[in-house]
Amino acid sequence: MAAGTTVAPLDGAAVRRWTRRATAARASTTLGQRLSDAWGGLVSAGVGLAVAGGGLASLRERIALAGAPVTGTVLPAPLTSAALVLLALAGVVVVLARLGPVSATPAAAAWWLPLPADRRGLLRGELVRLTAAVGAGAVLLALPLAFGAVAAPTAASVLGGLGWAVAAAVAAVGGTVLLQTRRRGRGPAAAAGAVAGAAAVAPAVVGTLAAAGGTPVGAPALGTPPAWALAAAALAAAALLVQADRGLGRLDAGRLLAGGVTAGQASGSLLSLDTRQLGRALAGRDRPPRRSRRLTPVRRPWQAVVAADLAVLARGRWQLGQLAVAAAVPVVVARTEGLGALPPLVWAGCLAGWGLAATAAGRAAREAHGVPELDRLFALSAAAVVRSRAVVPVLATGVVCAVSGLLLGVGTGLVGTWALLGLAVAPAWAAASLRGATRPDPDWSGPVVSTPMGVLPAGVGATLVQGVDVGVAGSLPLLAALGTGGPTPLLVAVQAAWSLLLAAAVLVHLGRRRSPGS
């Protein structure tokens, strides 16, 4: 063992510098290459922002020219916008809390954290990077909104919008890190999850009640917030960040490493565009069961599959909340003034909500796909396993789509028909859920497509859309119903037949693809 300490040990900042210099000494990329990459990224982001801003501006003009709404629109646009902002902010907090937010890679946990160097100095770089990344993301989201969502954007309105976005992002980072330093790392995720759920469900409930009563919801007249309010918000966000920085030394190695492992999995799956793995990384641990289920009603192998899938759905930390949000999203879009007058937009709201339901309902199938030996435990053919595994998605999407349809119908005099229309779409989304859960890994060997925003790997895209494609195709009769002013018994029948046909085709295809030994 080395002799006693006789020189001053490196402090946290010096350890970071030392590691960075040693790493940079053998970096294979040149400064020119890095500048070139940065320029390419900037151009891609700029083109993407311009396309998004243009799309929003076009949407705004189409809303202004739109005719009668599909259902009664009773929610003022500012109310829905506020709910959307709350939802986005809560989503950011959930992701931050799952990632730590401050974390240490396994290498840093093994070689930095055991050093007697001040932990604050070691972790400050991580906090700076995190704040910069979330702030940049907020700017990227706010820019198209600032230019596209306002009729006549001015320099002041754009800068104000960007300022609020950055302040919110910094406050989100500062607040979650501060709670992390006080060992309340899991609290913000649960609270933000509840806020996100409420932000989606509350407007749907309010909108439905208002539609039932035939009275639009009044919105308080809010002007542009004064500059001092923005300055105060920015100061508060900065104060949170400073407090968070001061508490970095209180973070313990175990939690830093746990966050680092999650962040590593999430960033790896993001880089490889593996959304399925990304979901697994961010999902967090299930609720621990109070006791094991006795599974007494299970008599046959297929019932065991269904019982296991139901247990996975019930124990998931987020699934039930996701299903509630999924049912609410189409209602909020359809009930919001402006949005509800454009049938394609209402249809897109349905796709977004029911796609979320399909993702939540397919979790057990996704997990089983990752561990194929589980299915081999049962005396079931591959086709029978697929059919059994479809039961829970059918039930979940059936409830979500029927509830959405029912709520859409309130105030139209066709509640039952709307509910049946929703129910009729459900088999397609259940099939989408299974197809998405069992899709192959992204194929990077396929051809690439050159676009103004950079090169897109078409092979990967073709894999990623598996699942959603069936849901979208299966919902085409719904688009016809929305476009023609509402559902008719004939359209409901067409929707049901088309949806069942697609679902049967998917189940047969998946049953053939998944041989018992696969």
Partner: protein, 231 residues
């Protein structure tokens, strides 16, 4: 800092350990003094690694207390990290730092004078001279294990904690490691290690903590011979 001989350095009382609410083994009571070595033995899954992680502050105890030199164990304290060197099941390295640079980082981070000489000596002692300037990805699994162990020797510590240090080492290296650990113990460092290697336990340990579901007991090596033989 050298340990005062004979004084209790690490003390655990009624310590319950686990990852959830349920303990993985019976409560643990132990005292480890400077210049003594305690081996932790038990079957796979008995809770040895969880116990070590709790003793070095990486997991919170479910119940009971752990103190180092009279103060509650707190891995966030720089003084604690200065006193305790631990090599657990970590096999993580900075991808762009060589083996030598990892050891230099550790030595300089602990303020070791003549860090380069100390590191060179440990590289030699752990048989890494030929591969010290290679990146971790170019090292074998056993060489990476040697590198991780060497990091515990390039710095001063009052307590050395190792989780199955014999893992992935060849027979010759295991023998040399046993001699190094014995030397450290004799020089006044407290050594705590979990192991399945009967020879390592027999050579280094003054006492043996047998970890089990029913009871965790500290025994003399002779008393624990039966359990050690099962290793």
């Amino acid at each position: 800092m050298r340990n005062p001989p004979g004084s209790d350095l690490l003390v655990a009382g009624g310590l319950a350990v686990g990852h959830g609410a349920a303990p993985v083994c019976a409560p643990v009571d132990l005292r480890l003094s400077a210049g003594r070595a305690l081996a932790v033995v038990g079957p796979n899954g008995s809770g040895k690694s969880t116990l070590l992680r709790t003793l070095v502050g990486l997991l919170e105890p479910l119940a009971g207390t752990v103190t180092l030199a009279g103060a509650s164990v707190d891995e966030r304290s720089a003084a604690f990290r200065r006193d305790v060197a631990a090599v657990l099941d970590d096999d993580s390295f900075f991808v762009s730092l060589t083996g030598r640079e990892h050891l230099l980082l550790t030595a300089r981070g602990h303020g070791v004078a003549a860090a380069e000489e100390v590191v060179a000596a440990e590289i030699e002692a752990f048989g890494l001279a030929e591969r010290a300037d290679a990146l971790p990805s170019a090292l074998s699994s056993g060489q990476r294990r040697r590198l991780a162990l060497a990091a515990a020797f390039v710095r001063p510590a009052r307590l050395l904690v190792l989780d199955e240090p014999e893992r992935r080492l060849d027979a010759g290296m295991r023998t040399r490691l046993a001699a190094r650990l014995g030397g450290l113990r004799d020089a006044g460092t407290a050594v705590l290690f979990a192991s399945h290697d009967a020879e390592l336990v027999g050579t280094v340990a003054d006492e043996v903590l047998v970890v089990d579901d029913d009871a965790c007991r500290v025994l003399a090596p002779a008393e624990a011979a039966g359990r050690i033989a099962e290793l």
